[in-house]
Point group: C2
Chain length 413, copies 2
């Protein structure tokens, strides 16, 4: 089975939107063992879109579109596909019910042009969109070929693809394919690659690395006639990877939704501990990321954003002399922040971060990217110095991730 | 002048790499007024790449490739372009000097296969790569058409494009294109579309909408012989949009980097005010987003993450009876949180958020998505009830955005 991704939207050609959809779908397709030879982007232009459909359908079995399902005149993806299929768009009552339900859920009025979102060709399978008004679709194009329409916003597209398109593709391909995700923090890609080089087969099972800010994720995938066989093939590979990499592996999951925050919250729950944060350069990002995990309220008691120096003194009692003497970006201040937060919120453990995210303010002694983390428990208070590189956003994000990793390590100690 | 981007690399088809290159080049091209109708990705396969070159050259004047300039057998981008041009690759001494210099700078040995990086067709203009070993190229394909070869790694590609390709394109096109970005919060896309329908021309100037969580952005673009003329054509369109939409327009920018946080921080700076936050369901996201803005330290003093109910009492003095009597998700608690944060941090204004992000915990009286914001100044304390929909992440993000919008509105009152 050959698939081809066709992203529709002038905003992509203008560079206004980063095409994360193509990567997301590509990843999932390759995990499913579906081959891809081309990806195309075209604008909101009926003539060029029609040509792109015809080209894609001439070389692929499944053409997956993203974008252009909305109610405006610019949204031509469905209309042009119907034209290529030689069929008419009709109002599909089940789709209309979906659109109406979403509007009533959002407490919004449904304008007449929104009805167009419920129009599909007769033999189209309509896909539910739990996160937006535009349903997706699997459209029969003749000769066994299909066009799959997905909405453009990633938060609508991604669950629709995983929950509704993947089962369709899996059924169509007739193979069981199982993936597991090994998440690594604290070891660079080159080092991971070196340790695993002899395991990284393009074969079956396969093992492929993906990088994001400060993290490496490995996907191990096996394909077999049954899920059970695939799962059994995968087990020794996953075990061997974990053995070689040691405790930089922070999660082994059956889906790719694992995160440092989930691991930290899990560790806290197991130990029955509560946590507090005290954040300067991260400005609340550590707490907010912990709180992303459903059920975090059992363990996350609260925190402080001590952005200005004076707030460090006012909120968690960092002595003004400590700031004066050691600089606000120092191990001493990080330590006092963590201790102060732990005592004031009466929690079992507190984590703090102070540092210089830039772009300005760096000196030779304290360059941009200098960060100190603090971790305080009843037993001890430790600090971790970091020297990070990148822009303001990257330095803040890496600080947050290092803080979450330090937190889980201390809790699991 | 029409350009087309052709990204070469199996890693893109496998989803291993996010294609930021296409966005970067698209943005720069559209700022230059160069039109694009298609973008294509193909793998490291000579036959499919040759076909992709022929298709792209049949419809564009300038075809810009990324990737595949390295020394391995997989790196076929130059070789296939030379074949399509009907010319031979020869060793270009100036290119060889560039490659040798880079190797000596990196203290690496140059292996014989690296010489291939210095081979180009006779009439190719070689582009210096200050950040890597592979030079880029502008290759004459006949009929005035060219193929531009750029390396794959963004840190090599981006400066090469800006410093060497843009001057070439600017000289070639001779047109000025100006865009302005109108950012809207608090009005849905369908409503914006309805109010502006008669203005939304695909012509010149053009006006196009883009949506993200809770927000709509409009891009107005004009093309003319000079920047000045383009700017003058744009002005009445932007004014008319602002007049029709009113105060839901929170930013009109010359680049697309505007944000609710930037507007709020700007408003606070103009008034010389400091701000504090007190966050429950957003867990620090409001503060963290304010702090994303460089220079936020002038106005963001600090904040509280009062995630558990008891933290609301401990940190900002919300009376336990208020929580008991009105529920923790209530206007009364939001109001007490904002007032408490303002007083404890001695700031001019404080913003608070309490609500239910789900997935669990909803009741008929207080369903998931119920959120109360509080805004407190010396003069008054107001609360804003919200009924949001979507998953946990969306409810938290929308709460944050509404809080930033409420903050700027109160400061600008």
């Amino acid at each position: 089975m050959i698939a081809e991704i066709l992203c529709v939207g002038t905003e992509l050609l203008m560079g206004q939107v980063l095409n994360t959809n193509a990567q997301f779908i590509s990843r999932r397709l390759s995990a499913l063992g579906v081959t891809q030879y081309h990806q195309t982007v075209v604008g909101d232009n009926a003539e060029r879109l029609e040509e792109a459909y015809r080209t894609a359908l001439s070389r692929a079995d499944v053409v997956i579109t993203t974008g252009g399902l909305g109610p405006t005149v610019d949204d031509i993806t469905k209309r042009v596909a119907a034209k290529v299929a030689g069929k008419a768009l009709v109002l599909r009552p089940e789709a209309e019910a979906m659109v109406r339900e979403r509007f009533s859920q959002y407490h919004k009025e449904m304008t007449p042009n929104n009805v167009s979102q419920a129009m599909f060709t007769e033999d189209t399978a309509v896909l539910l969109n739990p996160n937006g008004t535009a349903p997706g679709a699997i459209v029969q194009m003749g000769g066994g070929k299909v066009v799959v329409h997905l909405p453009g916003p990633p938060r609508e597209m991604e669950p629709m693809f995983v929950d509704q398109v993947e089962p369709y593709l899996r059924k169509r391909s007739g193979k069981a394919l199982i993936s597991r995700y090994i998440r690594i923090f604290g070891m660079g890609e080159a080092m991971v690659d070196e340790r695993l080089r002899d395991l990284e087969l393009g074969g079956n099972p396969s093992l492929s690395p993906y990088c994001s800010t400060g993290e490496v994720m490995l996907r191990a995938t096996a394909s077999a006639d049954t899920e059970e066989t695939a799962r059994a093939m995968l087990e020794p590979v996953v075990d061997e990877v974990c053995r070689r990499l040691g405790d930089v592996v922070y999660a082994v999951d059956d889906d790719d939704r694992g995160s440092l925050a989930k691991r930290a919250v899990g560790a806290l729950k197991r130990k029955g501990w509560t946590v507090a944060t005290c954040e300067s350069l991260t400005g609340g990002m550590i707490a907010s990321t912990l709180v992303e995990v459903p059920g975090a309220s059992d363990v996350v008691k609260g925190g402080f954003v001590t952005y200005q120096s004076v707030a460090k003194t006012m909120l968690v009692g960092v002595p003004a002399e400590t700031i004066e003497r050691y600089n606000v970006v120092s191990a001493e201040v990080a330590s006092a922040m963590a201790r102060g937060a732990r005592e004031r919120l009466a929690v079992d453990i507190a984590v703090s971060a102070t540092g210089l995210a830039g772009p300005g303010g760096g000196t030779e002694a304290i360059p941009v990217g200098t960060v100190f983390l603090g971790i305080s428990t009843a037993e001890r208070t430790v600090t971790i110095p970091l020297r990070l590189s990148g822009d303001r956003a990257r330095i803040r994000e890496l600080s947050m991730k290092n803080a979450l990793d330090a937190l889980r390590r201390e809790v699991e100690r």
